[in-house]
């Protein structure tokens, strides 16, 4: 935690337009050194900037976490059945998502509005989809 003096000092320096590195140097010179992570949080707050979304990109390669996470995709499939709009919102990745999209683009959902994981739809299509019905030839649903 930073004390009041440190916070006031950072606010003053940030208002002057100094960079985080310069502020850190000045803090050290005034014997008020602090953790960089905390300092950056305050600098961002006083400058009104948000943290970078892809923080890994700005981290040196040797400190990066090498964990592969398959990005979860969120896909909506919509159209109409007997002029009534129906919509499936699914999430997942890879083969499950592809299979679920194949099924849903053929068979409409049994409910008018369905949100489910792609894995579940691909594994248990009978529970989520109406096998006896088909989507209308020309979708009436708008692009929203």
């Amino acid at each position: 935690m930073a004390n009041k003096e440190q916070v006031d000092f950072i606010r003053k320096e940030a208002k002057r337009g100094k960079s985080a590195n310069q502020i850190q140097r000045d803090l050290r010179a005034h014997h008020m050194g602090m953790r960089r992570q905390k300092l950056l949080e305050y600098v961002r707050k006083f400058k009104g900037k948000s943290a970078k979304v892809e923080s890994q990109r700005y981290t040196p390669i040797k400190y990066r976490k090498h964990v592969f996470v398959a990005s979860r995709k969120m896909i909506a499939v919509y159209g109409s059945v007997n002029w009534q709009s129906r919509r499936v919102q699914m999430y997942g990745s890879g083969h499950d998502l592809y299979e679920a999209m194949m099924l849903v683009s053929k068979y409409p959902p049994s409910k008018r509005f369905l949100t489910a994981s792609a894995g579940n739809i691909a594994s248990y299509p009978d529970e989520y989809l109406d096998i006896d019905e088909r989507w209308d030839e020309h979708p009436r649903a708008e692009s929203r």
């Binding site: 009104g48 900037k49 948000s50 979304v53 892809e54 990109r57 990005s71 995709k73 969120m74 896909i75 909506a76 499939v77 919509y78 159209g79 919102q89 998502l97 592809y98 299979e99 999209m101 194949m102 099924l103 849903v104 683009s105 053929k106 509005f113 691909a122 594994s123 248990y124 299509p125 009978d126 096998i131 088909r134 989507w135 209308d136 030839e137 020309h138 979708p139 649903a141 692009s143 929203r144």
Partner: protein
């Protein structure tokens, strides 16, 4: 074979629309609006809410003729455009931004779009084809593109590949 259905025998149907949905991406849908007006509102929202960057996609375009004594004196085009912003936000802020732009711009179709997103509790944009209309094309980019825009483009590629392979 899964759940009694043979996946290999099926082919994707052209009668559905495929899109990308999420709660944390700010999206705006401008129907029948000029590109300049869309850019204007994109920049206003970007500056006002610190949204890092945006991309504008054109989903369709219409050309109108202005006639005078049976002759065309002027042509102007209006299109349907989608804006995707780069910054990740929570749903309440997302809805606040969409509503703010809809109210300020006085565009009825945008107001309808925002209301619909509010009912669903998430925002959606079309990525695939819709009947004869092709998938939306990128027409303008500004600012950072590494956050939600990168995610959106990844999903867009996935959908395009799906449509290409599934509908062959």
């Amino acid at each position: 074979m899964k759940g009694g259905m043979n996946i290999q025998e099926q082919k994707a149907d052209k009668s559905v629309i495929i899109g990308d949905w999420s709660k944390d991406t700010v999206r705006l849908d401008f129907d029948d609006t000029s590109l300049n007006k869309v850019k204007y509102w994109a920049f206003i929202a970007l500056k006002w809410f610190h949204l890092d960057g945006f991309v504008i996609l054109r989903s369709s375009i219409k050309t109108h003729n202005v006639y005078f004594k049976g002759k065309i004196v002027q042509k102007y085009s209006e299109g349907s455009y989608l804006i995707i912003f780069n910054r990740k936000v929570k749903w309440d802020l997302n809805f606040r931004i969409m509503s703010w732009v809809a109210i300020q711009s006085h565009i009825q179709s945008l107001k309808d779009y925002v209301l619909m997103q509010g009912i669903k509790g998430s925002s959606t944009t079309r990525c695939g084809c819709k009947g004869e209309k092709p998938s939306p094309k990128i027409v303008f980019k500004y600012g950072e593109q590494n956050g939600q825009i990168a995610k959106f483009l990844e999903i867009r590629n996935f959908i395009k590949n799906f449509e290409r392979k599934g509908r062959e």
